[in-house]
């Protein structure tokens, strides 16, 4: 069938774009975890203004649609004189957005760590920063690994929106091919299948990580 032929002809291009989407999502998640951890620490700060700032960040990046966030960053950066390729703006946008969700996820994990562990750290002379960095956050991440993997799959799908700011990831590549071959149905369906496959890959990877790093709770 002509349909399959079109897909197979463009498969290398599509798979290349798929890999970019996959790696991009992982990178954005990693950056998002760092930012999200910081936001989490802010939320727990004793100082009202810092805690408020954290809450506002989370509210903004979960309330505003991702598309609007991406467009805003894409036009805002040059506006204040920062000229970056659209890929960088895209990853930045995705990271900032996922950080808000990850901060909430980590908060759930933190709540289940007994306060005595922090006290034990304090008694041993660890500073607040050390307690966060070595005791609380590592545990929170391990405890919430399933939720974090879930968030990565959401990010993978959301990354399709960066096609709008011109990044040559999977969806954008699909648009280009569909336009040149006049076969949108076949191409976009193939794209859908590839996203499904990527999600399966993520789920498998997540399962592996959970087995290796997941915390055994007493």
């Amino acid at each position: 069938m002509g349909a399959i032929k079109v897909v197979i002809q463009n498969l290398p291009l599509l798979l290349q774009a798929a890999m970019m989407t996959f790696i991009l999502s992982l990178v954005a998640t990693a950056i998002g975890l760092v930012i999200g951890s910081l936001i989490c620490i802010l939320r727990h700060s004793k100082r009202r203004s810092l805690a408020r700032a954290g809450a506002i960040y989370i509210s903004f990046f979960r309330g505003v649609p991702l598309l609007v966030q991406l467009l805003l960053i894409y036009y805002f950066l040059p506006f204040i004189g920062i000229d970056v390729p659209s890929l960088v703006a895209a990853v930045a946008g995705l990271s900032l957005c996922t950080a808000a969700y990850l901060a909430e996820i980590l908060r759930g994990g933190l709540l289940s760590i007994p306060v005595g562990q922090r006290e034990a750290g304090e008694m041993l002379g660890l500073s607040k920063a050390q307690i966060w960095r070595r005791l609380l956050l590592p545990q929170a991440v391990r405890l919430m690994l399933p939720a974090i993997v879930s968030e990565v799959t959401l990010l993978l799908k959301a990354s399709s929106l960066i096609s709008v700011i011109g990044v040559a990831e999977l969806t954008r590549t699909g648009q280009n091919i569909a336009a040149s071959t006049y076969r949108p149905l076949e191409i976009y369906t193939a794209i859908g299948v590839i996203y499904l496959a990527l999600n399966l890959l993520l789920a498998a990877g997540g399962g592996m990580m959970e087995r290796r790093f997941g915390l055994v709770r007493q």
Partner: protein
């Protein structure tokens, strides 16, 4: 109602571990002067005085809710006491009095510095589950004492060996029994070379069979001259290892003395009642 002064027969040992200890009149290791602590309207610790010498083992006993744990936590500044003074090796803990006599809380950094010489063992052990036993013991050595990982590993291994858990160095807390976890917790504090160790009901969460191994470690520590303040329900330990036993009730120390004073020659009806209850529960044949 038994009105005779029948001695409450908790066996006092024929020899005490504490005989021959150095009782020089130096600065007390821990001193509490009129320390009080309130939670809202409830006064949990009421104007307590206590003085602990070097190498002394003080056991705090009493009914639940008497404020024992809160008092101990005040000594570590895990609770900010409201009135009075807690002095660690002569230095005021947690606060600073300025020239005008006004009291300010000191910074977290300052408190951490003072806590370097205090070790604390908790009822729930509070080991960090994402690190091995060795990792737990090493962590503070690396982060606070700034040792290299290699140096820390050596010290940690040695300390774990001291509490009898050299073989379990690479086990995670979830793989250890309660008694083993608590011994790791003791090793974790011990590795930092504290001058004073505080124990908050260290065996209360343990299965009865596992209590002995933890008490044995604590006995060894006492014999080596560690200054210890122990909140406990283990009267046998208090009798055999304690130099001073203090009985708390409703936030006040209503009796203090040597184990003999408290356990054998006790006149105070409240304390006699408490000890009798203990015997009824624990002496299983007469």
């Amino acid at each position: 109602m038994n009105n005779e002064t029948t001695p409450v027969s908790l066996e006092t040992p024929h020899f005490s571990i504490n005989q021959g200890k150095d009782h020089a009149t130096a600065t007390p290791m821990v001193e509490l002067r009129s320390v009080s602590k309130r939670f809202g309207d409830l006064a949990v610790v009421k104007s307590v005085d206590l003085s602990v010498r070097k190498s002394e083992v003080v056991c705090l006993i009493g009914p639940s809710g008497s404020g024992k744990s809160t008092l101990l936590r005040c000594m570590a500044f895990l609770e900010a006491y409201d009135e009075g003074e807690v002095l660690i090796e002569g230095e005021l803990l947690g606060y600073r009095d300025d020239a005008k006599g006004q009291r300010h809380r000191i910074s977290d950094r300052e408190t951490a510095r003072m806590r370097r010489n205090i070790g604390m063992v908790f009822q729930q052990f509070h080991l960090w589950p994402h690190m091995t036993a060795l990792g737990n013991v090493m962590e503070a050595l690396v982060l606070v004492r700034r040792q290299t990982r290699e140096e820390a590993r050596v010290v940690a291994a040695r300390t774990l060996d001291k509490v009898g858990l050299a073989a379990k160095a690479d086990s995670y807390p979830a793989q250890l029994s309660g008694g083993q976890q608590q011994r790791v917790a003791i090793a974790r504090s011990l590795a930092m070379d504290p001058h004073i160790m505080l124990f908050d009901e260290p065996t209360s969460s343990l299965d009865p069979e596992l209590v002995g191994e933890v008490l044995a470690v604590m006995k060894d520590l006492a014999a080596e001259g560690m200054t210890m303040i122990v909140v406990t329900h283990e009267m046998g330990f208090a009798a055999q290892v304690g130099d001073t036993v203090a009985f708390l009730d409703h936030g006040e120390i209503i009796a203090r003395g040597s184990p003999t004073d408290i356990f054998r020659d006790q006149k105070h009806p409240r304390i006699r009642q408490f000890l009798q209850n203990y015997l009824d529960r624990n002496a299983f044949w007469s």
